[in-house]
Symmetry: C2
Subunit: 203 residues, 2 copies
């Protein structure tokens, strides 16, 4: 599984690197999560410069595409020259966003009528883009998901893993990231929240 974490200047470090750290726990199963960017170097919201691992177009071929929140999300969402380089396909790809990253999903026509999770600061932008904002950490419909709040990235990454590699693999990655001594509660809390959105729900 190739995972593209789409990373533009202004990216939120927590969103990007919590997703990258969790998803690369499945390296043994052939997963690889990498930063896909339109430039060789991108600089985060707090001024950290990171080397891109893949060009932006890697997202078009990846199995999973994730968009973190970004301090420039609103400007990015109206940058047609940039977004025209992305041709994502929900029939073939699992696609997710965190916080203001949902605005890019909306502009790429990937949300349809589904609501998106978002922090209060992001909600006016989503409403402006015709998207209903919900006060939940995680929401998915089929192969598309959104998460709200930096650390809800954990929910999004675990959903990506559970969807393609099963709940046990997701539990294993979560256990690795959990605070020591709190593993059982932490894993159960995240998987319980995801259960309604996993393919085997109710079976």
């Amino acid at each position: 599984m190739h995972v593209a974490i789409v990373t533009f200047d202004g990216f939120s470090e927590i969103d990007t690197f919590v997703a990258l750290g969790l998803l690369n726990r499945l390296e043994d199963k052939g997963w690889r999560a990498e930063l896909a960017s339109p430039a060789a170097y991108v600089t985060s919201t707090n001024g950290v410069t990171v080397q891109a691992q893949r060009p932006l177009e890697f997202a078009n071929d990846a199995d999973v595409v994730l968009f973190g929140s970004n301090m420039y999300a609103r400007a990015l969402s109206s940058n047609s020259a940039l977004l025209d380089r992305l041709t994502l396909d929900p029939l073939r790809q699992t696609i997710g966003a965190i916080g203001s990253g949902s605005l890019l999903l909306a502009r790429l026509g990937l949300l349809g009528t589904m609501p998106a999770c978002a922090e209060p600061a992001v909600r006016p932008w989503l409403i402006e883009a015709g998207v209903r904002a919900v006060d939940e950490p995680f929401h998915a419909r089929g192969p598309i998901a959104t998460a709200g709040g930096r650390l809800a990235t954990v929910y999004l990454a675990a959903w990506v893993i559970a969807r393609s590699a099963g709940s046990d693999a997701a539990a294993s990655a979560l256990r690795y990231a959990a605070p020591v001594g709190d593993e059982d509660r932490f894993v159960a809390q995240v998987l319980d929240a995801l259960r309604p959105y996993l393919p085997d729900a109710g079976h």
Copy 2:
């Protein structure tokens, strides 16, 4: 407040960037958390190359010094030429580590008789260094703290903030990072865990 996040090749992305993202929430209060490294570029455990923001010796002058876990922590802890460049001072600095980063605190003589939090994989190395490993997410004594498990970085960052800027400032940073809709529970859970280790405990 100047915060040095000591970052070597092999660093854990989650530890480093969750700390950086949370601590830079206090930018308005004059806080600045930056990556301090012995080289101009360092590459993470999952192969992401990041530009250092400060030289390693910035840690000697910073108000707060944090060490994340590192895939090479054991080798780093026996690299005297590297560690001799660090002269940390618990009378003047707040110092913390996550996971195998505690091994560096031990080698720098900063743990004394205090125990350190650690994931099971790290415990043999700590014991070898003469440190008692505990199965807790967070433990502090005075100005020194350790956290165990990647996301226990949240506890460490919140403790650093609460210690210097008060519990309300810590709550505000935690609220920003929390999953949407789960803010109250999340903030209370972290602050409750920190309460025994904050200067005003019991007052």
